[in-house]
């Protein structure tokens, strides 16, 4: 990393940002990574389905059909019906946007806070660094979804609160990664050069450090969306997230729990959908990591 | 062709060895038709710049080349038997027992999770099927042999508790545990401090005489060669360019590359004025390997004929050189003297 940087300094007047060369290589590598392309393709497919799908579903998600309660999959109802006779396929298509929304919203929220804290921590160091990182340690001391669970339990069960809770529990990972990368970038010679040219802290952070820590952020964000979807559906499954009759997949699974004996399809399909969407994000995340940041290990 | 009399004289004869690395779209010929011999009880130096293929040659002898590297041809005759015909199980009996190896990096070549004694003892347990207790006893002997101070204490220590020089002594102890007939030392002193380098070389030389081993010493340092070797093979871009006894190499080098190497050595007897002469240019990359003599692009004498590959030519004393200058086909200056011209230019 150091060599090209110094070389460029001698050619141009302005210190070069080593990132520019990296993006080209990144896209080249990403195109070669077939798994990542497949993951990305599925995510795009899910997003499109979430947007246009609801206009084409055979039934409305809330339409009940008392005659056809718990009907097994058939030509009329591809994934069968639930205990109110609602069409599961239609509900899944309508729930797609909720799942994606929860995943993206919570991670964008959590990542933003985490990145800001991580940069402040890494760039300024000292006491503020200690305070921030100790706080992150405390947040990480709650295992798994326990923190999100505790937050939702006091805020009350709703989709909004699930997003807040999941966001809070994803903050520490970003803060830690960004802090580490910031420390590493701060030591690069070209940052010294930029500072020597009289750039302000603000400018250095936004123009030079942020772009350089972007690859680990992107990788982590992708993987975090997968985790966030799992956590959020788990909270909904426990009755602490989306409330009925919202066609949220975790909540649908919770309904299906009571009919495992005679209508297992009610629990089967929402679960398969969660697996597929989480799998797509995990595959893409793995591929991005291989392409962007080979040194980063899980 | 190997005759019976040759094999009693030479412990190792390498014929036309070829080892290549295969990447997605090209074959990199790291070792490209290497031939040389190691006489019994002698030390042969294999000299070359990094990337010349000398380490790969040594790894090929023990068939330890990692994928994507692969031996693609040639013969490695050890005591008259071709090692390339042996099965993996047969090779395992040879590794560490008849042919041993010491590596360049003592810092990373020892397993960090086992004690020194365990790592030396493993050789005894593999080849002599001795008990743990016996292996421990013999390991202690080995540590004494390689001159490690307070061996009773060191034997139970982990590699991270030892200095670089001591670790290399341990590596030598591991290598000698099987009482091998041939020791391959791949740049054994490169990673060490200068003072330690001399000690390790002295140790190898001393042990060679005491145990009557043959040694293949791989190095880029001609100074090391002058002090330790009986014969020298000079390697360039996967090929041997010159093979001769050590006296001839230094007094009467034939190949322009050898001459260049010797001239870039700092002289012992006088101060130098200005820079040491260096060989201009760099080792050709595998993708732009010249068709003819590999050294031609950097050779001050290169002529028309150098665009075709010269063969190794053996003189009456058994010394070999791969250069057109010493053939009848030579089309350059008939009066050329590689040593004179290099000095004045």
């Amino acid at each position: 990393m150091r060599e090209p940087a110094t070389e460029m300094i001698s050619i141009e007047k302005k210190p070069a940002n080593p990132l520019i060369q990296t993006w080209k290589i990144f896209f080249k590598k990403l195109r070669k990574n077939r798994a990542a392309m497949v993951g990305g393709f599925f995510i795009v497919f899910f997003i499109i389905t979430a947007i246009v799908g609801p206009y084409f579903t055979p039934y409305a998600p809330e339409t009940t059909d008392v005659v056809n309660k718990l009907a097994p999959p058939s030509a009329d109802h591809w994934f069968g019906t639930d205990h109110h006779g609602r069409d599961i396929f239609s509900r899944i298509i309508h729930g797609m946007s909720i799942t994606l929304y929860v995943g993206f919203a919570s991670v964008i929220l959590g990542a933003t806070v985490g990145v800001v804290l991580g940069i402040i921590s890494g760039y300024y160091g000292g006491r503020i660094d200690t305070i921030i990182m100790r706080t992150m340690d405390v947040l990480l001391a709650f295992p798994g979804i326990l923190l999100a669970l505790a937050i939702v339990s006091v805020l009350g069960g709703s989709l909004q609160n699930v997003i807040i809770a999941v966001a809070i529990s994803s903050v520490p990972v970003f803060a830690r990664i960004v802090r580490g990368s910031t420390l590493a970038v701060k030591q690069l010679e070209y940052i010294d050069a930029v500072r020597a040219l009289g750039a302000s802290d603000f400018r250095i952070i936004f123009k030079h450090i942020l772009p350089n820590v972007s690859s680990p952020i992107i990788v982590q964000a992708t993987l975090s969306i997968a985790t966030a979807i799992l956590s959020a559906s788990g909270l909904s499954f426990l009755g602490l997230g989306a409330q009925p009759p919202t066609p949220e997949w975790g909540a649908m699974l919770s309904d299906g729990r009571n009919y495992l004996y005679n209508a297992p399809h009610v629990a089967l399909y929402p679960g398969i959908m969660i697996v597929l969407i989480v799998l797509a994000f995990n595959i893409l995340g793995d591929g991005l990591r291989d392409a962007l940041d080979p040194k980063m290990k899980n | 062709m190997v005759t019976k009399s040759d094999s009693t004289e030479n412990i190792l004869e390498i014929n036309d060895l070829r080892t290549s690395f295969f990447t997605e779209d090209l074959e990199v010929k790291a070792v490209d038709g290497v031939s040389f011999t190691i006489p019994k009880g002698k030390t042969v130096g294999l000299v070359g710049e990094s990337g010349s293929g000398k380490s790969i040659t040594s790894l090929s002898i023990l068939q330890l080349v990692d994928a994507p590297g692969k031996i693609v041809g040639g013969e490695i005759n050890f005591k008259g038997e071709n090692l390339l015909d042996k099965s993996e199980a047969e090779m395992r009996k040879i590794r560490g027992k008849e042919i041993s190896m010491v590596f360049q990096e003592p810092m990373t070549s020892l397993n960090p999770t086992y004690t020194v004694g365990q790592q030396i003892g493993e050789s005894f347990m593999i080849h002599d099927k001795v008990s743990k207790k016996e292996a421990y006893k013999r390991s202690l002997e080995m540590l004494k042999l390689v001159g490690i101070p307070s061996p009773e204490k060191r034997i139970d220590q982990y590699p991270h508790e030892l200095s670089g020089g001591m670790r290399q002594r341990v590596m030598i102890a591991i290598a000698l545990a099987g009482n091998p007939e041939l020791l391959i030392a791949d740049e054994p002193t490169t990673a060490l401090d200068v003072t330690i380098q001399a000690q390790i070389l002295e140790l190898i030389k001393d042990l060679q005489e005491r145990l009557n081993m043959s040694v293949l010493l791989i190095t880029h340092d001609l100074g090391v060669v002058a002090e330790t070797c009986d014969y020298v093979a000079v390697m360039y871009s996967g090929k041997i360019v010159e093979y001769a006894d050590v006296r001839s190499i230094f007094n009467n080098p034939q190949h322009p590359y050898t001459v260049g190497l010797i001239h870039s050595l700092p002289p012992h007897d006088r101060d130098i004025e200005g820079d040491l002469p260096v060989i201009k240019g760099a080792v050709p990359s595998p993708s732009e390997m010249p068709e003819g003599c590999r050294f031609a692009p950097r050779c001050p004498f290169a002529s028309e004929i150098c665009n075709t590959l010269p063969q190794l030519k053996t003189d009456e004393r058994g010394n070999q050189v791969r250069c057109w200058i010493y053939t009848d086909e030579w089309d350059g200056d008939p009066e050329v003297n590689v040593r004179e011209k290099e000095r004045t230019s």
Partner: protein, 318 residues
Amino acid sequence: MLTYIIRRLLQTIPVIIGVSLIVFSLMHLIPGDPAQIMAGESAPKEQVENIRERLGLNDSYPVQYWNYIRDAAKGDLGSSIRSGRDVTEEIGGRFWVTVELAIYSTALSVFLGLIAGIVSATKKYSWQDVTLMVLALFGLSMPNFWLGLMLIKWFAIGFDLPSWIPFIENTSWFKPSGWGSFQQVVLPVITLGTGGAAIIARMTRSSMLEVIDQDYIRTARAKGAKERVVIYRHALKNALIPVVTVVGLQFGALLGGAVLTETVFAINGLGKLIIDAIQARDFPVVQGSVLVVSLLFVLVNMIVDITYRYLNKRIDLN
């Protein structure tokens, strides 16, 4: 080493204080009057006042917090609003169920994860490697509560097998709920252990691949060691060291994940206690359980860090 252990112990103190502070604050983050909410919407005024008094909600926050950690240090986590029993007592009976579940699941995930990781690494890019890594990716992407439901459907409720299969008529082999007997333990342990197995398998694979490239592996081969010895004696021992950390983290994650698994299988552990308490708005119990689980996690992490440090001391070459 001793100084590291002491330093690591000292580092734990602010974390424990932080955790207790957050757990304490939970009660005050409740929108509205916590006493009213806990008592119920239509509770008489005296009852609300009674709860307020019992929880010390009339004191200032610092006084409340001080009382809370002082009592907690003595093992007094307050009493349940619902049952009136001591929270410590409520937790006590269920604590070991959850720990047992987490230990069995960790054991399963270590066992499966290591085997899969080693096979994958030693047969890099083979069909076995590809199959195992695809499975691991699925394991990683599966909501464990859904896996639990499916396991109940397939192996507790079971389905009838075709008559040409001898001896076995159906697959209702295990029990769908409860904890204790072998038939009750199997499905929850698989449910909870699968995700961990996937993570450990991936970690072991990458760690093994890194170690196999090391110089000392070549040294072992040069000694004439058999490939099996090279892999298991020389590579695995080094490769396992980073895996230790993951196993520790995994154990903690399982403590958290147990909430869902215990709900699915109706196991009376800490996880289900938390959920039941949340639904009953029994906040002292929620606080106490979350505190206990988190402190256990902090403790496990500390032990893992110290172990890792001890093992890694030798690894750290330069």
